[in-house]
Assembly symmetry: C2
Homo-oligomer: 332 residues x 2
């Protein structure tokens, strides 16, 4: 596989140029390029430059508004709403997360519901940002039906990621961000591109039969992680990121979509809570001792540790040349 | 297995008598007996009379306060706290859930953190009650270390159940309530009592080796459901039901416990949200259509359906005679 070494600034520029050429204004392009650069920085390739062709396609088709002007309004002091104006999600986050954090710090808990948005990134940027402000955060989005509910052989759920972040006064936040599919579709796509099999249980082919071929799963469907229990979590996310916030579930997001290959319109649920208020000020010692014991167990790796390790590396990243060619082609 | 047919009123009385004889006052005994009766009514045997010997043991040892007087106070308009006064959780719920519902209806979201409580029941009574009031609810508790984090061979997590409830204007709430262990300890205990093997992956023996013998798992440890992803959910619950609400994680709950066989002191996290407010009033049509499609899939059973079906049966329940003997003995 031939690759090119690119600095993080170069990765940002490639993303920014591609998005601008595809029709985004500077503010929207910069917000997306920043999440793409940070994904590559942290080693999260399936959310990095790999996504640019999809981002560009939906700007070019006109499905996504490259001049989006997302607006925050407060339904109550703790129920914030952001109309994403049909743009990509990162600019909405840039404009609204600080207000969510303030509401949670003041009241103990607050929710940001985002509608009319197109989310095509990881979720940890949102939850990590809140945890860096001393809050615990939970966020989820749905997508388009690609996961069969447990027991079924027809997709209804999106890959429906869930992210949780927990503040640590003396360390970066503890964060997990995981698809509730057995594998994220981005990772299945990368396996298909690299012609690698995936574990049995990852998905079914279009006839509902188990397979290890990623290309067959892309034509067929994924399975939820963890059997019926994981399927319950995926169902919960459909409801939280869809109807609860005033948006569609995956099935309807797909029906509305124009099939341009980019992300559908959907909703996002973001919950922020203040451990300081909810615990009456006594959370820190117990949190620290619990995480110390967890981290000390043989065989345990705390979530996000690998991302933080990658982040310390300020050097260039290896980027697949075929991907760079695809990006050049996609934004023309 | 010899059994006796008992009406729900008789089940309530047996529980109430046992709790009263073990030292609970009427208000505390009635609140617990009501959750025990409702568990048997719904076919949830592992949370029914099966728990009475444990409930009685902790009243008799003095660990649990049979005269508990749980008190609600508002840290903010949406951050409610209940000091459980070292009693069993049901009386705290009886006194506080209505206020939580009011706060969520008024503001869109509210949290009830319960401390100094002993939770030994299912979680669906709390979440279902909130969803019956038109709210979506999430609740969790931790317990004592019996689950090894993914990759480890030493228990640190409790069985850490998570419950989610979603209101349906034209049907009873959609509710799931599941241990984040591969199997609830109550079910492992029932399998051990009945001498039935459990599926591989349920747990490890005390040397950290896989086994299907429930008695070996009870001496050893359970595993989380769903590998590393389920393990993340179990970790999140340790933090939400422990430090976030001002209580201990499972490891510390056990260290404080007197080993009387009943439930340890711990915390409970209850989140209530108003779909009406958070969605700007537009949640119902999408929710209904999504759940219709889910329920219509071949092979899918909506969670709680079996419980609601059992609930319709107003007749007597079959109760194990050996259990009834144990209850009589336990409360003397």
């Amino acid at each position: 596989m031939s690759t090119t070494q690119l600095t993080l600034a170069e990765i940002f520029s490639i993303a920014q140029d591609a998005l601008t050429q595809a029709g985004a204004n500077k503010e929207n392009a910069d917000a997306v390029a920043n999440t793409v650069m940070r994904a590559e920085r942290d080693g999260s390739h399936s959310h990095g430059l790999f996504r640019i062709p999809g981002y560009a396609a939906s700007l070019q088709s006109g499905k996504v508004n490259g001049n989006a002007d997302p607006k925050l309004h407060s339904r109550t002091a703790v129920a914030l709403h952001c109309d994403g104006d049909l743009g990509y999600a990162p600019l909405a986050h840039q404009r609204c997360l600080e207000s969510l954090a303030e509401a949670a710090h003041e009241n103990g808990v607050a929710v940001l519901s985002i509608t009319r948005t197109h989310h095509f990134a990881a979720l940890w940027p949102e939850t990590e940002a809140l945890a860096e402000r001393g809050l615990t955060a939970i966020s989820c989005v749905s997508y388009m039906p690609s996961v069969a509910p447990f027991g079924a052989a027809k997709p209804l759920y999106g890959t429906n990621p869930l992210s949780f972040a927990w503040p640590r006064p003396d360390a970066p936040p503890l964060v997990f961000d995981m698809a509730t599919a057995a594998m994220a579709m981005g990772d299945v796509q990368i396996a298909a591109r690299d012609d690698r099999p995936v574990p049995l249980g990852t998905g079914l082919d279009e006839n509902g039969e188990p397979t290890t071929a990623p290309a067959e799963i892309i034509k067929g469907m994924l399975l939820p992680f963890g059997g019926h229990k994981g399927s319950h979590i995926a169902m919960m996310i459909e409801l939280l990121a869809g109807p609860l916030v005033g948006e569609t579930a995956s099935f309807a997001s797909k029906e509305r979509d124009n099939g341009d290959g980019g992300p559908p319109q959907g909703g996002q649920f973001i919950l922020a809570m203040s451990p300081e208020i909810l615990s009456g000020g006594v959370w820190q010692a117990q949190s620290k001792e619990f995480l110390k014991r967890l981290g000390a167990l043989d065989g345990v790796r705390l979530p996000a540790e690998r991302r933080y390790r990658n982040r310390h590396d300020k050097g260039p990243r290896e980027i697949n040349n075929a991907l760079l060619d695809k990006i050049s082609a996609s934004s023309r």
